[in-house]
């Protein structure tokens, strides 16, 4: 099928970009950031075509968790390329592209969501809810990658080893601040997405909160990132502590998004 082939090509492009980014980090040879960007943008284009073809073929993008991964992966690459374009952070690619590949793999081989349009899935509000939440996830995932970069560079600096890796990684301050900016931008988006979900639920089901596990984990995730922002702004939690909090946040995102989406727990986030 056309859309699978396009997504497959995008996968290859992303794999190439990730590979080159990794080599740039570890090798002594001069880094080739342009190649990473080129492959990233090509993959993005192919990926978009694949998603469009997927919709044209009648498959829902938001039908099931695995399908949304295709969209999340695209948003992740787009946001990463934007961050790189704006703030110049090519080495982040080595951490971002593996995540992208995992998500895209899920989209390609994961079980299909419902084939027919379930009535409760209709609605513009639903689409907005999902899109905003996914954008939030993407910001948090990128912040997680920045946290990994921070922890790696911090470890090298504290161990007093100026290796090749240390030279290619950005400074601890850059990693730390980029993570903060990402969360600062993504958190309001995520919050809005959750609120719209609440409103939509009240409109279609008459209740604000259904009490299903996914919902609970969503609010937990929200709380973790709220705590991150609060600690950072109010009490000056910078550097290692806030990086650790981002790791916790990542775990929450994974559980909320993927685990809760896959487990057969009753509640209104089940679509099958």
């Amino acid at each position: 099928m056309a859309w699978e082939a396009l997504l497959g090509l995008a996968f290859v492009a992303y794999a190439g970009a990730g590979g080159v980014a990794l080599r740039n980090l570890l090798s002594d040879r001069p880094p080739r950031a342009g190649l990473v960007r080129g492959l990233g943008w090509s993959g993005l284009g192919l990926h978009l075509l694949g998603l469009v073809a997927q919709v044209a073929a009648g498959r829902l993008l938001f039908g099931g968790v695995f399908e949304t991964m295709g969209v999340t992966a695209w948003l992740l690459v787009a946001t990463y390329l934007l961050v790189d374009w704006r703030w110049g952070f090519p080495s982040l690619g080595a951490f971002v592209f593996p995540l992208v590949l995992a998500l895209l793999l899920g989209a390609l081989v994961g079980p299909q969501g419902p084939v027919e349009r379930v009535r409760s899935l209709n609605g513009l509000w639903l689409g907005i809810h999902v899109s905003l939440v996914l954008l939030g996830y993407v910001a948090f995932l990128l912040a997680f990658c920045c946290a990994l970069v921070y922890l790696a560079q911090n470890r090298l600096l504290k161990a007093k080893r100026l290796t090749t890796l240390s030279r290619h990684l950005p400074s601890v301050q850059t990693a730390d601040e980029t993570a903060y900016r990402l969360v600062a931008l993504g958190f309001p988006v995520f919050t809005l997405g959750l609120l719209i979900g609440v409103v939509w639920a009240s409109l279609t089901r008459g209740q604000y909160f259904g009490g299903d596990a996914k919902e609970a984990w969503s609010w937990l995730t929200w709380a973790v990132f709220a705590a991150y922002l609060h600690m950072r702004l109010a009490t000056g939690w910078k550097g290692r502590r806030s990086a650790m909090l981002l790791l916790v946040g990542f775990a929450c995102v994974v559980i909320t998004y993927l685990v809760m989406g896959v487990l057969p727990i009753p509640g209104w986030h089940r679509f099958a």
């Binding site: 002594d28 560079q153 100026l162 301050q173 000056g236 910078k238 290692r240």
Partner: protein
């Protein structure tokens, strides 16, 4: 068209001998003119740095001329200077200059000053009129090789000194050094050099604190900064990003608790502490605080030493680049030297061909125009085929260094110099 490089360096001569062969900006022009004037010398370039003096010359008498020139200029007796001089000819001279430009022959392997020095040597020689096509291309290629070596290998990478190391670490911590504030405790050459490295990297404000306030003022003036009173040390640290500890105090003057407090006031912005004092100024425990990076003199020296080791491991890769560039240059040089001979050979044989063909055609008047053309074509293609191999072999004479021999042989075998003056 002999190419030679004669000279001495820190590897072959102590400074007392090297200083006798130093050419300052004034005497460089004179030196170039002197060497250029000598008979049998067509091109000259002088490369002078504090660690080496090398005279490069092209010409039939280049070798003896350059050697006597250096001996004369040094004011030393021939047998006093000769043991320190090294001589390289043709391909060896080319390879040597490329190695020098790549920084492999320098005292601190991989340093980049030599690159500028090579370029300036060529500029001076061009201005004086001493450099010709061969040396011009040689030195330009050397600069390119030097640049390539630094881009493609790790020969120029890493910290070259404690100050340089500090600047690199600062970049790994802060990213951009622009606008960073620096606090120096105490004084001393290393502290000053380190501060200069950081300022060159972009650090702006410099604050200096010293128990003796006048010394703080002195150093602050030299660095374009401000002196602060010693008891205001901690509040100065609150505003700064980088601290250099260089006092002569017999114990630590900066404790862990005080830095912890400073960090709270600074809302945990990263702090870089460079402790180059012995005994150390900053309690080692300070390094365990979050967002504080503490390096003492041993840590910095260890990084510099490790980097120097890494650079010397890169020398192999540089050698590969040098050999490749040498082969290319020598091929060009060889074909340059061979060109007149190739042209002369062709001219001579063509003369024979034309003469003989004409004579034969006069006796073959009964042939049709077509047949006459065929005869002419036969002689032309015969000539081309015969010339092909000698032409190629002359151009390729660089390998095994027998280019000169081949040119000589061809000239003699075909009598190219009969009735003409010897080509120099």
């Amino acid at each position: 068209m002999h190419l030679v490089g004669v000279g001495l360096s820190h590897k072959t001569a102590p400074v007392e001998v090297r200083e006798r062969l130093s050419f300052g900006p004034g005497s460089l022009g004179e030196g170039l003119a002197d060497l250029h004037r000598r008979p049998g010398v067509q091109e000259v370039v002088l490369l002078c740095t504090c660690n080496r003096t090398e005279a490069y010359a092209v010409g039939a008498e280049a070798e003896p001329a350059a050697t006597t020139f250096l001996i004369a200029h040094s004011g030393l007796a021939a047998d006093a200077l000769s043991p320190h001089l090294y001589l390289r000819t043709n391909q060896e001279a080319v390879a040597h200059l490329f190695r020098v430009a790549a920084g492999v022959d320098s005292m601190v392997v991989g340093e980049s000053e030599i690159l500028g020095q090579v370029k300036r040597a060529l500029e001076a020689a061009l201005a004086q009129g001493g450099a010709g096509p061969v040396l011009d291309r040689l030195f330009r290629t050397a600069a390119a090789v030097g640049k390539r070596a630094r881009t493609e290998t790790g020969i120029g990478r890493g910290a070259f000194s404690v100050g340089h190391c500090a600047a690199e670490l600062a970049r790994s911590i802060f990213g951009d050094l622009n606008g960073r504030r620096l606090l120096i405790l105490g004084a001393g050459e290393t502290a000053e050099l380190t501060a200069r490295h950081l300022v060159t990297g972009g650090a702006t404000s410099v604050f200096v604190a010293n128990r003796t306030h006048t010394r703080a003022v002195e150093l602050a003036e030299q660095l374009g900064g401000r002196a602060v009173h010693y008891d205001e040390l901690l509040s100065a640290m609150e505003k700064c990003d980088i601290v250099i500890g260089a006092t002569a105090a017999p114990h630590a003057v900066v404790t862990r608790d005080s830095v912890a407090q400073v960090m709270r006031v600074r809302r945990n912005r990263p702090l870089f502490c460079i402790d180059i004092a012995v005994p150390r100024d900053i309690e080692p425990a300070v390094g365990t605080l979050n967002n504080v990076y503490l390096y003492d003199i041993d840590d910095l020296s260890a990084v510099v030493a490790e980097d120097a080791q890494q650079r010397s491991r890169e020398a192999e890769k540089v050698e590969a680049i040098v050999l490749e560039a040498t082969a290319k240059f020598s091929a060009w040089h060889q074909s340059l030297r061979a060109a007149p001979t190739i042209a002369a050979l062709r001219q001579k044989l063509e003369g024979i061909r034309a003469g003989e063909t004409e004579r034969a055609l006069r006796r073959l008047e009964h042939l049709s125009a077509q047949d006459r053309e065929a005869v002419v074509n036969l002689t032309t293609s015969l000539l081309n085929k015969i010339l092909h191999s000698p032409t190629v072999e002359l151009k390729n004479g660089l390998s095994a260094g027998d280019g000169e021999v081949r040119i000589e042989t061809v000239r003699r075998l075909f009598g190219l110099d009969e009735g003409e003056t010897e080509e120099t």
